[in-house]
Amino acid sequence: MTTAMNAPVNLAAPPPRKLRVATTSLAGCFGCHMSLLDIDERILTLLDLVEFDRSPITDIKHCGPCDLGIIEGGLCNAENVHVLREFRNHCKIILALGACAINGGLPAQRNHLDLRDVLEEVYQTEVGLSHGGIPNDPELPLPLNKVHPIHEVVKVDYFLPGCPPPADAIWKLLTDLLAGRTPTLGHGLMHYD
């Protein structure tokens, strides 16, 4: 028997500590973030319980060690992959927020097309464009051949569907997580559209 198992057991919940949360929008429309803000005055309660790391709310550029990383949007380019990996490396829990993070969503509806044809049409052949050629500045992230949901690249711990997920659903999920409960959504809070 190990000494750890003989150690005194503390059945009380751990002392309150503000959980650190990071959020980002990859190939998304920020609609899920807007829905997060739609929790309205409950955000004040939330701020008593969490502090934000990297997020459009804080404008912090890189993610530090966090308890929870919230990802909106899927993966459509190399930068999305970099950001997602940064989150996965620094966050104990990753939450896929909304349709695009979960199944690629609207951006993934380009997936039945060949990316080369798309680039050619958008930058070269379509009427009314500047015909300046396909941008090749190294500052620009390259698009992926296909758009992918985030669980195809990193392990995702929780999913919250919706386009966007309703504010009440986000609130329910966050409060469940904060309270140490496995999140559940009843009828009306769970929808894919």
Binding site: H82, N89, L115, R116, L119, I134, N136, H148
Partner: protein, 603 residues
């Protein structure tokens, strides 16, 4: 002759009968090269079926094509035994010489090269089909010559005859292969006994199905015999299942090549017992080359009074028809086979009702394996007591094994039931043996410590395929080949099998690319658990067996391929930027993604 005349001639030959659609499509395609939209429309009108139904059959079977696939269609058998004999290198060499990608048709419409499921030539591979004719023992020289013949558009009929030679390779005979009966002898004995006593004899002999499941043949015949015929034209049918599709199995090929009379006689005896006037032999499309020989064997039997009206001077009328399949493993399942006989896609039926009460055309039908029917002749001739003296307590008689893979003498071996796997391996010259796959991909994989097990219904029931793998073989690659096989052969009817077989294949490919993690192995187990209980038929239920067996018995073959102990991306991240790199011409650091992130590194 115009295309329309050609189609009409085929239709007339088959009495414009929709249930003969498989034969109509095959014969039409043999003459016209492919099944064009207008061809399908004409056939649908003639047989008075909805057009979509005809199209549904046409695009279900691998050997029917609803788009042109070249005047020469080369299909390389892609069983693991063909792989071990180097088929992929040979196919690549052929494609290179023809300036062709596998699966694509050459721009001039001359030729296409692709792979197909096991063609049943495992003892003499690598094998292929050219315009659905079997060619065995491929070598680089033969491939070179073949390319020349294709380029010069030499008709396949004029290719060297020795290429099409298929050897029996019978290495060990027992009571069945050494039967010594003359045509008509067993049937005469059965007629003398009469149907009831013949049925009693079959039951007393304990004859069980040789397709692997081992259902009592007497029980099946009795159920069929007792079931009333349906409707205005009541009838009973015997169907001989010669859709020998399980990779690694080729015993029926040999029985039909050199023991056709015994098989036909067995079908006739079954017909006598169940009260049928018609028997159907469902021959897999890969064995198309046997058709003419079988037809003449039937003609000879009619001539000899062994088929037709008043057989051997009795009141028994019976005849046999041959139906060809068209490349669908699922048709080995008896109810799918019946669907195919009726001109439909080979989709297993919901059971009950079972074929013995509602089978072919809704009538009572007994579907039996080729070897089972042949074995019934021995019981008719020699009686049950004699038969019971062979084999073991619960497995009377003998079993024909198809042996291929890493052994000195691949081929056909017949043993009394009860022989150990170790004995068989010794006899075929398998040394340094690591594993044996028994009963093909849907069967079981035996590791060395299990070689003492016996071929018998009490221990290992099997249709008789033994694929041998020596210590140089990678058992992961064996399982991956089988995963590809099931994904290709899933009929697509039920969700767990349709999607599950492809998910399994993709996971195996991911591990093969060395992009896997233990997470992916857990996923394989999860899919196995789902598919095994929830699938509609045996294909889906057993499709994960090879993965499950090798994961349990050869786990290091998987583990050494894993990339990490973490979660790994589903796809190659850097390759996912390839099209954008191509279009922008970029190759800077930012135009690449490392596949694996070192622990703790900043992204």
């Amino acid at each position: 002759m115009s295309d329309t005349d050609t189609i009409d001639a085929v239709l007339d030959r088959h009495r414009r009968d929709g249930t003969r659609l498989m034969q109509i499509l095959r014969e039409t395609q043999e003459q016209l090269g492919w099944l064009a939209p207008a061809t399908l429309t004409r056939i649908a009108e003639a047989v008075a079926w909805p057009r979509a139904k005809v199209e549904g059959t046409a695009d279900f079977y691998s050997f029917f094509h609803t788009r042109p696939l070249g005047r020469y269609r080369v299909l390389w058998s892609d069983n693991i035994t063909d792989r071990m004999l180097g088929n992929i290198d040979l196919m690549d060499a052929m494609c290179k010489k023809l300036w062709l990608e596998p699966g694509r048709v050459s721009e001039d419409g001359l030729v296409s090269v692709d792979t197909t499921s096991c063609t049943g030539m495992c003892d003499q591979g690598p094998a292929l089909l050219v315009n659905y004719r079997a060619i065995t023992r491929l070598t680089p020289a033969r491939v070179g010559e073949m390319v020349g013949l294709i380029r010069s558009e030499t008709p396949v009929a004029d290719w060297p005859a020795e290429w099409f030679a298929v050897e029996d390779n019978i290495r060990r005979k027992d009571i069945l292969l050494g039967h010594g009966l003359v045509p008509g002898e067993a049937l005469a004995a059965a007629l003398e006994r009469g149907p009831e006593k013949m049925l009693a004899e079959i039951k007393a002999a304990g004859l069980r199905g040789r397709g692997g499941a081992g259902f009592g043949t007497g029980l099946k015949w009795k159920a069929c015999r007792n079931a009333p015929g349906q409707g205005d034209n009541p009838a009973h049918y015997v169907v001989c299942n010669a859709d020998e599709g399980e990779p690694g199995t080729f015993k029926d090929r040999v029985l039909l090549s050199s023991y056709a009379d015994l098989v036909f006689e067995g079908i006739s005896i079954a017909g006598l017992v169940v009260g049928a006037r018609k028997g159907l032999l469902y021959l897999r499309g890969e064995y198309r080359y046997l058709l003419e020989g079988l037809e003449s064997a039937l003609a000879a039997r009619r001539q000899a009074g062994l088929l037709g009206a008043n057989i051997l001077g009795t009141a028994f009328d019976f005849d046999i028809e041959i139906h060809l399949g068209a490349g669908a493993y699922i048709c080995g399942e008896e109810s799918a086979l019946i669907e195919s006989l009726e001109g439909k896609p080979g989709r297993p039926r919901i059971r009950p009702p079972f074929p013995v009460t509602q089978g072919y055309l809704g009538q009572p039908t007994t579907v039996n394996n080729v070897e089972t029917l042949a074995a019934s002749c021995l019981i008719a001739s020699h009686g049950s007591a004699w038969y019971l003296a062979h084999g073991t307590g619960k497995s009377a008689g003998s079993k024909i094994l198809s042996i291929s893979g890493d052994c000195e003498r691949p081929g056909i071996y017949e043993y009394p039931y009860g022989v150990t796997v170790r004995q068989v391996l010794a006899d075929c010259g398998a040394t340094q043996c690591q594993a044996v796959q028994v009963s093909g991909p849907s069967g079981i994989c035996l590791a060395e410590e299990e070689f003492g097990r016996r071929i018998a219904f009490e221990d290992i029931p099997t249709a008789g395929a033994l694929m041998v793998f020596d210590e140089s073989r990678d058992m992961f690659e064996v399982a991956r080949n089988f995963a590809h096989f099931f994904a290709h052969e899933s009929c697509g009817f039920c969700t767990p099998c349709r999607v599950g077989t492809t998910l399994v294949r993709n996971l195996m490919d991911k591990i093969a690319r060395q992009h896997g993690s233990p997470y992916d192995i857990n996923e394989l187990f999860k899919l196995h658990r789902l598919m095994q209980g929830a699938s509609h038929c045996g294909l889906g239920n057993s499709a994960c067996n090879p993965v499950f067996d090798t994961l349990n018995k050869f786990r290091p073959a998987y583990e050494r391929r894993l990339m990490s102990l973490d979660y790994e991306p589903a796809f190659d991240l850097d390759a996912a930027l390839s099209q954008a790199r191509q279009m922008t011409g970029r190759d800077d650091v930012g135009a690449h993604l490392s596949t694996h992130l070192p622990n703790g590194a900043e992204a």
